[in-house]
């Protein structure tokens, strides 16, 4: 490849933001981080690369899109493709059994391959939060309320669809890995003729609606075994608690949400926004993920792809550095003095 064609070609999976775009990104991140701070979530930073073998069992459908490289000792490395995974590895090693519940958050780039014709995926930068040591429905509810606060802070008119991997697991126990992946895909792609089991599963996993509609559905499904039913009722109850707090329009029950990542164990959810062809945020409960890295601790979290929501976020008027005016004065010293006064008054000024 000659230098000129390299200069204008962009490697797949990279993003560059400049000037106003970069400022807007910075502002978005700042607002979300401020919110995390007010909710008591402490920042963590994960490494840009790590040993591939640690992560390979957890990659699932993303295995094809990760970047791998060799270090000088010949170890196979993986570039950070999913912050939840990298965070689980760091925390799994750093924390000890019986640790106090820990609330952490992050805002960082991720590196994944994207197909040439899939530039709209915008999966370059994740902000998110994880509640480590959070067991039970209250942990789930806290995470969903925090997600709602983030969505509201960015002025997004989004809807959160809540489902459960535990419902799927209870419905299809003991499936070998290949059959299980096929059944998951049947639910995600609504290919009901490929879904194993009885006809009630088709109606259950095809359902989207409010808690009352979900209750009526569950009452009408005679073939459901008690394990599946009780997991489904837990999801409905969670949406009911959110509705009681005034968020009935923001959350719905959606049993076709079973989670794309294979580390989920319970609650799973995705956030949808009109005009975006993919979920903008996703999360759930992953009670066994940290154990893979040495710490058995239940956890729940979510991450938001900032690039997907940037153009939809309502941030009000931004005090951008591009609006800075030159200071008055003949010499630089005079201009500096004038500028200091203007800056104290909140204006952006150049010398």
């Amino acid at each position: 490849m000659n230098p000129a064609s390299q200069l204008y070609k962009l490697p797949q999976g990279t993003e560059r933001l400049m000037l106003e775009e970069a400022f807007r990104r910075q502002e978005l991140v700042r607002r979300v981080q401020d919110l995390f701070t007010r909710w008591g979530y402490q920042p963590v930073q994960t490494p840009v690369f790590d040993f591939y073998d640690l992560y390979s069992p957890s990659l699932g459908r993303n295995a094809d899109s990760v970047y791998r490289l060799l270090d000088r000792e010949g170890d196979l490395l993986i570039l950070r493709s999913d912050i939840t995974l990298f965070l689980a590895r760091s925390m799994g090693v750093a924390l000890r059994e019986g640790h106090a519940p820990l609330r952490v958050c992050y805002a960082d780039t991720i590196l994944r391959h994207q197909e040439l014709d899939d530039i709209a995926a915008n999966e370059f930068f994740q902000v998110g939060a994880e509640f480590l040591g959070a067991s039970g429905p209250d942990g789930d509810l806290e995470m969903l309320l925090l997600l709602e606060a983030v969505v509201a802070a960015l002025g997004l008119k989004a809807r959160v669809h809540l489902g459960s991997r535990a419902v799927f697991d209870a419905a299809f126990p003991g499936l070998e890995e290949r059959a299980r992946a096929k059944a998951l895909e049947a639910v995600l792609l609504r290919r009901w003729d490929e879904l194993p089991g009885h006809g009630d599963f088709r109606r259950l996993f095809g359902f989207i609606g409010n808690p009352d509609e979900a209750d009526r559905l569950l009452a009408s499904l005679a073939q459901l075994d008690p394990g599946v039913r009780s997991q489904a009722q837990m999801t409905v109850q969670l949406v009911r608690r959110l509705a009681a707090l005034g968020f009935q329009d923001r959350f719905c029950v959606d049993f076709s949400e079973v989670g794309r990542q294979n580390y989920y164990t319970g609650l799973v959810f995705q956030v949808y926004l009109e005009g975006v062809g993919d979920a903008v945020a996703a999360g759930g409960r992953y009670d066994r993920l940290l154990a893979r890295f040495g710490l058995d601790s239940p956890s729940v979290g979510f991450s938001l792809h900032l690039g997907k929501v940037e153009t939809f976020a309502q941030l009000g008027e931004l005090n951008s550095p591009a609006t800075a005016l030159p200071a008055d004065g003949k010499t630089l010293e005079q201009r500096w003095k004038a500028a200091q006064k203007s800056r104290m008054a909140g204006r952006n000024v150049t010398l």
């Binding site: 014709d117 995705q270 993919d278 979920a279």
Partner: protein, 207 residues
């Protein structure tokens, strides 16, 4: 009511789709070479796109819904929630060669097949799934010429009646897959409009 957006393919399916929809009260036409139209009931905004581009429009959510053959979606590499299968437009993906072609390779074993096709992804996945190595030559049209002119002994192509094959001295060796026509959705669009989409599917399902 905000209409649902639906991408339809230009070409062989269009008239059958138009007829199927019109019989269920969803009448539309594309006048003056326009590529967008609304149906008479106001439920649909329809965009007319090239077959191979259709999955790209749906994947990016530009069109919320799409309708085309399995073959087109498979080649795109995208996967979409399935909504409805239609009973028209069925065809087959077939392996063909010149009449009386003598197979020197084995369909299982180490010998590879050289195949000319437009459906490279399907062909590769199908034969690799059967444990057969393949060398694929991509062509975009008139694939039947490849065995006749000696570019490749085999082709993989859609076969409806088989008359084009016959006219060029070719024959079907094996039907690889039945191809159906489906309505599908962008996953996020489905989540945001599942009620309206459910009602559209009910309308289209009526006989």
């Amino acid at each position: 009511m905000i209409p649902l957006t639906l991408a339809l393919p230009k070409g062989r399916l269009f008239e059958q789709v138009q007829e199927h929809f019109a019989a269920r009260g969803l009448v539309f036409d594309f006048n003056d070479r326009k590529l967008t139209a609304n149906d008479s009931s106001g439920r649909l905004k329809i965009i007319l796109v090239k077959n191979a581009d259709l999955p790209t429009y749906v994947h990016h959510g530009i069109a919320g819904l799409g309708l085309c053959g399995d073959d087109v979606v498979y080649e795109s590499g995208y996967e979409f929630p399935h909504l409805l299968s239609f009973d028209f437009g069925h065809t087959s993906m077939a392996l063909a060669a010149r009449k009386n072609h003598v197979r020197t390779e084995h369909l299982s074993g180490s010998g590879h097949l050289t195949i000319a096709t437009k459906f490279t992804r399907f062909t590769r996945d199908y034969f690799h799934g059967q444990g057969v190595p393949v060398k694929i030559i991509r062509l975009d049209g008139s694939v039947e010429l490849a065995p006749v002119l000696g570019l490749a002994p085999y082709i993989v192509d859609l076969v409806e009646t088989g008359s084009t094959l016959k006219a060029n001295g070719l024959e079907v060796l094996e039907t690889l897959k039945k191809i159906g026509v489906n309505l599908f959705a962008n996953a996020a669009y489905y989540k945001l409009h599942y009620q309206e989409i459910g009602s559209l599917v009910d309308t289209l399902r009526t006989s």
